[in-house]
């Protein structure tokens, strides 16, 4: 009886789970979305800021790069990376002026340039997404700009407002956003940097800070009342940015959300009392002109981007890199963007469920985690990678690109043992650099997703050199057309010359013990640390690893209390300046709280850096960079570890994907085939029920003999009773 009841429960459960017949039971998405033009992807951590003046990390850009429309963007297909207009009509060129306001030629010496002007013209007719901040009533009054205290009850998200509105994008909106960089309550991460460059920004910040003190706590600070000399709207569609000196890298910033437009109305709207308490702010609900708009922002579960109905005027590019056309990437040339109606970002913190759902067809694209990689990818003889046959049979495609990121193990140059610029310390650092076998590291922990670094500049960035010219002669030899890591014997010799024969101090005989600080706490951390200890063991040096939480680690770096540490840097823009500045003496962490965590300081390097940073790319710049890289390699303030390779997988029903390290706004180019997807999902996810049934049957059967025993006992007592 129990058995049948259990079976019935299970059948009901099964019927409920399936919903309608034929649909897979394990579909994590709502059944009625099956066949819709929706892209499913994931996020692993709640974005901290969506306000374009504050947002400064990859996981936030994935969203807001599709929502906001800075003047420029990177070409989706072309390599090396090329800036193309986005909201602007063309890529602006700097006009150089001397201190008397006289126009200088483009080739003018950086010393003569007092300021540079960027004149940016935007396309007319661009409209904002529908948004309550822009909703206007009959007389042109804003509906939601004067809310009474009671009117916000029941409202927890931007979608709870009934009315929405839009208006045309104007140049003043861009100017407004630049002023917002100086807003005292927003503390933009690039304020410090831009304060050095944009004329009048620092003064504006000071003025705003004073004004902010005068306003009541939490009151509205109206930026439109203030003026910024360095950013002026010339007419309705044109504005000018004035930058101190010559700063050729400035145009790259114009492709970042920091310089996207924000309507002043949104600031007034969100500043109303009660909004911030309900988490309704620009940080949560952006107001943009881009192809998508954020309609659901529930960081506990999902975020949804929907097509901005007012977006128009951009078409699919018709040119690309050689090979793109053959790969079928240009087939949609000329069609209006975007293609996909809705993009669902689901919260997915654990790797395994994420990966499994991708394999089941419930996510359309996936990055590859190291541990699941073997299933996906095989190495061919040449060190390239291909997908495993099983994956290929499923129609999954693989794309790779080298990230504009560098990972390194830094030495603290202020440390008495590993630091310093003498021959002893240098040899010790070289020995360690050779001992840590990056190639093995990449193969074990990254499954080949990366290339060993030869210097600070990754491939794809101006200044990188390939082949024999590009190897680090202190660590590698060039043999048979490939770099070969120097031998362990040579390393031991170096170590002996540095005064540590067999890993022991030649004078005292004490074993050499080095400390490595890391922030590793993940499941992989232990294996990684063991591996590092093994590398040092090879040359007889003891390694003590000190795992720390992130803020302690930061503090130690800031105080210079580390010997060796791990860090990485993700490029802001594709220019060598953005990598070499990490070794600039003026950026020293201990002295100036900069980004140079090794506190490396070499006068010649610093001098060359000052010259290099204001130059346009060319042979002269290359020569200077070569010299700088050589100095850095000789001093070895870092163990040049690796440049990670990003691999992404996507299913056969996703089209037009190409990895682009600089652009995050690739969603609008992608297209999916929902029919194919539904069909595949059905094929791949047939539920297997017999084990559950078998288990229940087994449990039921095992009880039968007991029932019999019990009956016998009952009868026995009954008969005794009778007797």
């Amino acid at each position: 009886m129990m058995l049948s009841a259990a079976l019935r429960v299970m059948l009901i459960a099964a019927a409920l789970a399936a919903g309608c017949s034929g649909a897979p039971w394990n579909n994590p998405h709502p059944a009625d979305e099956d066949g819709a033009n929706i892209l499913y992807t994931s996020f692993s951590e709640r974005p901290k800021h969506l306000d374009p003046v504050q947002s400064y990390s990859e996981n936030e850009y994935v969203l807001i790069a599709n929502i906001y429309q800075p003047p420029l963007q990177y070409h989706y297909f072309k390599r090396p990376y090329e800036l193309v207009p986005f909201a602007a009509t063309e890529v602006p060129r700097a006009q150089l002026f001397d201190e008397n306001g006289r126009r200088l030629p483009d080739s003018a010496d950086a010393k003569l340039v007092a300021y540079s002007d960027y004149l940016i013209r935007i396309r007319p007719g661009i409209l904002y997404q529908p948004h309550p901040a822009l909703a206007q009533g009959a007389q042109g009054r804003y509906v939601y700009h004067d809310l009474k205290p009671g009117e916000l009850s029941g409202i927890h998200a931007i979608g709870d407002f009934k009315a929405t509105g839009t208006r045309e994008l104007v140049a003043a909106d861009y100017v407004h956003q630049i002023k917002r960089l100086a807003h005292p309550r927003l503390h933009s991460p690039i304020m410090q940097l831009m304060g050095e460059y944009i004329v009048g920004l620092k003064e504006l910040a000071a003025e705003l800070a004073r004004a902010d003190k005068a306003t009541a706590k939490g009151g509205f600070l109206d930026l439109t009342r203030f003026d910024l000399a360095g950013a002026q709207a010339v007419d309705r569609y044109t504005y000018r940015i004035r930058v101190r000196g010559k700063y050729p890298q400035f145009v790259y910033w114009l492709a970042m959300p920091f310089f996207a437009p924000v309507p002043p109305e949104s600031d007034r709207f969100y500043a109303q009392p009660g909004m911030a308490e309900r988490n309704i702010s620009l940080d949560w609900f952006p107001v943009g002109t881009g192809p998508y708009m954020l309609t659901v922002n529930n960081p506990n579960r999902q975020m949804v981007l929907e097509r901005n109905p007012n977006y128009q005027g951009e078409v699919y590019p018709s040119e690309g890199e050689p090979g793109d056309a053959e790969a079928g990437l240009l087939g949609d040339a000329g069609k209006p963007l975007p293609f996909i109606d809705k993009v669902v970002f689901a919260l997915e913190k654990e790797q395994i469920p994420y990966w499994n759902k991708f394999l089941q067809g419930y996510y359309d694209a996936s990055g590859i985690a190291s541990d699941t990689f073997d299933q996906a990818v095989q190495f061919t003889g040449q060190g390239d990678v291909t997908l495993s046959e099983e994956m290929q049979a499923r129609g999954i495609r693989l794309q790779t690109s080298i990230a504009t990121t560098v990972f390194y193990l830094g030495f603290n140059m202020l440390d008495p043992v590993v630091g310093g610029y003498g021959e002893r310390a240098r040899k010790l650092r070289h020995a360690i650099s050779i001992a840590i076998d990056q190639e093995e590291m990449i193969s074990i922990f990254r499954n080949g997703r990366g290339i060993a670094a030869q210097g600070p500049i990754p491939p794809g960035i101006f200044g990188y050199r390939e082949g024999e010219d590009g190897i680090n002669p202190y660590v590698y030899d060039w043999k048979d057309g490939a770099p070969r890591r120097k031998s362990v014997e040579y390393t031991k010799k170096l170590l002996a010359e540095a005064g540590y024969p067999h890993g022991r101090n030649a004078k005292t005989g004490e074993p050499l013990l080095l400390h490595l600080d890391t922030t590793g706490t993940g499941p992989d951390a232990k294996a990684r640390l063991d591996w590092y200890a093994k590398q040092f063991e090879k040359i007889g040096v003891q390694l003590a690893v000190r795992p720390t939480d992130w803020n302690r680690f930061q503090e130690k770096i800031r105080k210079g209390n580390v010997q060796m540490y791990f860090l990485g840097w993700n490029a802001d823009y594709p220019d060598p300046e953005n990598f070499l500045f990490l070794l600039h003496g003026a950026q020293s962490k201990v002295k100036t709280s900069g980004e140079n965590a090794s506190n490396y300081e070499n006068p010649e390097f610093d001098r060359l850096f000052e010259r290099m940073k204001n130059m346009y790319n060319g042979p002269e710049r290359q020569a200077i960079i070569d010299r700088m890289v050589e100095i850095a390699r000789r001093d070895a303030p870092w163990v040049w570890s690796l440049f990670p390779k990003d691999y992404t997988l996507h299913h056969a029903w996703v089209r037009n994907r190409k990895p682009n390290q600089m652009a995050n706004n690739g969603l609008k180019y992608q297209r999916i085939d929902p029919q194919l997807r539904s069909q595949r999902r059905r094929e791949w996810n047939q539920p297997v029920l017999w084990p559950a049934v078998a288990l229940l049957v087994a449990v039921g059967l095992s009880l039968l003999p007991a029932v019999r025993t019990y009956r016998r006992r009952e009868r026995a007592t009954a008969s005794i009773d009778k007797a």
């Binding site: 579909n27 506990n300 919260l347 539920p687 297997v688 029920l689 025993t709 009952e714």
Partner: protein
Amino acid sequence: MIAYITRRLLYAIPILVGVNVLTFALFFVVNSPDDMARVHLGVKRVTPEAIQKWKEERGYDKPLLYNGAAAGGGRFIDTIFYEKSVRLFAFDFGRSDQGRDIGYDISTRMWPSLAIAVPVFLMGLAAYLTFALLMAFFRATYVDFWGVVACVAMMSISGLFYIIGGQYLVGKLLSIVPISGYDGGADAFRFLALPVIIGVVSGIGANTRWYRTIFLEEINKDYVRTARAKGLSEPRVLFRHVLQNAMIPILTGVVAVIPLLFMGSLIAESFFGIPGLGSYTIDAINSQDFAVVRAMVFLGSVLYIIGLICTDISYTLVDPRVRFE
């Protein structure tokens, strides 16, 4: 009765004060506000000014306990302790270090937690009692013996294995339910089935064995012997007399747990991607959001104390011999 409850509630106040002082000491000794600021401001280009501003905005720039600069009562009110700890008593959780309204977050994340915890609790209770009764019913047969063996074996397995194994088997190999995720409404069933089953199964060992000993203790009492002597059948003895009397220790044990169901389950929620209070807590620990952890600690203590009071009251309700003193 009302006087008793009032007294118990009053007694809870000093305990909550103690909890509050303890957590405050722990959290502000562990990490200075400077550290928190650095964690939250991100990695790139963080300046000391930005840290100062961050602290000002969240009220962490004040002195810890005593503000010499303020006047009158402000000396004690204008401090971190007052702002961050004393206000909890009014269930004013304030805003998380990331700027979210904690009270609102708790009120929305509570439901998914309950959606797992309540079924696990009810189905678990039913299953454990059934198994325990079965074992008591078939006592001194192989069912009882192997049942106990199975229980001891099952309670010797770490809960992590149940989750990892269940997810792998049911979610991946058999594709019966989604591997992880959550959805509101009727759809929630598909997502909750697996975590609920795993939750129930992982508790079978310890709980069944525990209820079995309670039943066996009861079975060996004199009144049961009398009932049998009267000629009552074994099922009748078991269900009418034993079960009823064993309910007293079972109920009182169970009542204490009910309020804590709100807190959710830390590991299961994060494994199955369920946006409940358990995963909220884990996230807060990992991202060092101290405001959230403080709020959860306080909430947990309140619920625990409510559980204690409920237990006392339920004693008096099920067992007339116990009187309020």
